[in-house]
Symmetry: C2
Subunit: 242 residues, 2 copies
């Protein structure tokens, strides 16, 4: 292990230690299961304190590249192909990022007491008030996605008076509701008549479906279903080990 290699562009020591180890794992020099040097060995090798080495190894462990076991040492983990970061961009941002003109249109909005189906969809028990919204996003005046959303007013009372004819509910929620958790389910369907008409595609054409449930501290906020024409839209998920 060369101590001084590219020290110029790796200013801090712990980052260099981390990069050195990462490189050995990526090239396969240290295969899955391989025990990487003990902290005290790296301390001797780099001539630094244990805290510095520990910081490097802790970050590698957090990134999932290595596994640390007390008394035993640190080991290279097997690659986990199955975990990937999926970027589901805000639709407006996604379209403008492509250099196209974003268009939005509210199709339907209704304030009602939650039906059984609504409660099911939101995963709540009490029959509070909800807002149901259907709207359409377009890029350069071509339909891009149709959105079908339910907002729980007991969690987000302000949504009752928000003007969703001007601003998409997704953007509004992003700006008015604090940090959230979300779960996305992705599937494929074929367009029924109503969907086909709204998206201006053929009946029976494939559609990518994203169902997103959002909540905050165990409180449901919103449930949304997004339908994209399947042949024109793609979701990209990128995985990087470390």
């Amino acid at each position: 292990m060369s101590l001084a290699t590219d020290a110029a562009d790796q200013p801090t020591l712990y980052k260099r230690i981390r990069a050195d180890i990462e490189k050995r794992i990526l090239t396969g020099e240290w295969p899955p299961g391989h025990r990487i040097p003990f902290e005290h060995e790296l301390v001797a090798r780099y001539g630094c304190s244990r805290m510095t080495v520990n910081k490097a190894l802790s970050e590698l462990a957090q990134a999932g590249l290595i596994e640390r076991r007390r008394r035993a040492g640190s080991f290279v983990r097997r690659p986990q192909h199955q975990s990937a970061v999926l970027k589901i961009a805000d639709i407006r941002a996604e379209i403008t990022a492509l250099g196209r003109t974003y268009g939005y249109e509210l199709i339907h909005r209704k304030l009602r007491t939650a039906t059984t189906a609504d409660r099911d969809r939101l995963g709540v028990k009490k029959a509070g008030k909800v807002v149901a919204i259907t709207c359409r996003h377009s890029a350069d005046n071509v339909p891009f996605a149709v959105e079908d959303r339910l907002i729980d007013l007991s969690s987000v009372p302000n949504a009752a008076t928000a003007d969703f004819s001007r601003e998409p509910p997704g953007s509004w929620l992003l700006h008015h509701v604090p940090w959230t958790e979300a779960e996305h389910t992705i599937s494929a369907i074929v367009a029924d008549e109503r969907t086909a008409e709204t998206l201006d595609i053929a009946v029976g054409a494939p559609c990518l479906v994203i169902d997103r449930y959002t909540w905050r501290s165990a409180r449901t906020i919103t449930a949304v279903r997004l339908l994209y024409p399947g042949d024109s839209h793609r979701l990209v998920a990128r995985f990087k080990g470390g």
Copy 2:
């Protein structure tokens, strides 16, 4: 900020500090843009050293919950709905995890010099050797997914002699190729005649498509297309802020 709350189940101090701050962000008490206390203030509040506070804040920054700016302080970031962790499980693991019987069948295997289409798909320039594989995964003897794969033999020479009639290429690669990076593209199509027959679904039925490109240190390893019946398969991506 109560110092002693649930200290019993939060054994270490830095984790408690992290959890305390995370809670305030999640509940909206500290909205996006809010400046969280300076390190020296938290040091005074918790009666610990700065390194302990620093570790808690560094992890929150790494998780994307806060942003740290020199001289200015640390600030709550806006929620980023668009980022989610997608778990694309190894198919065998996915099926056995559901308590169903995994089945595998090699449909086609061919070793050839890369065609123009192959080179395009793998993103390589030179016309080396490749292995093309078509196979089928099933759960309880019902077709689950059809896989169409290309392996670059200049990156993975061993794949030329591997027995893919017994072991799925995905599993084989997982065990024989070191750490990798991958990019997934998800889209929807309708089943053509050949796909419909292989998956035992109707022609025109919706299918979820996952295209995965895998490489290691800028070397392409494999390109694979997985087709799932769209109505029976769902991908779940979960986002958790922090």
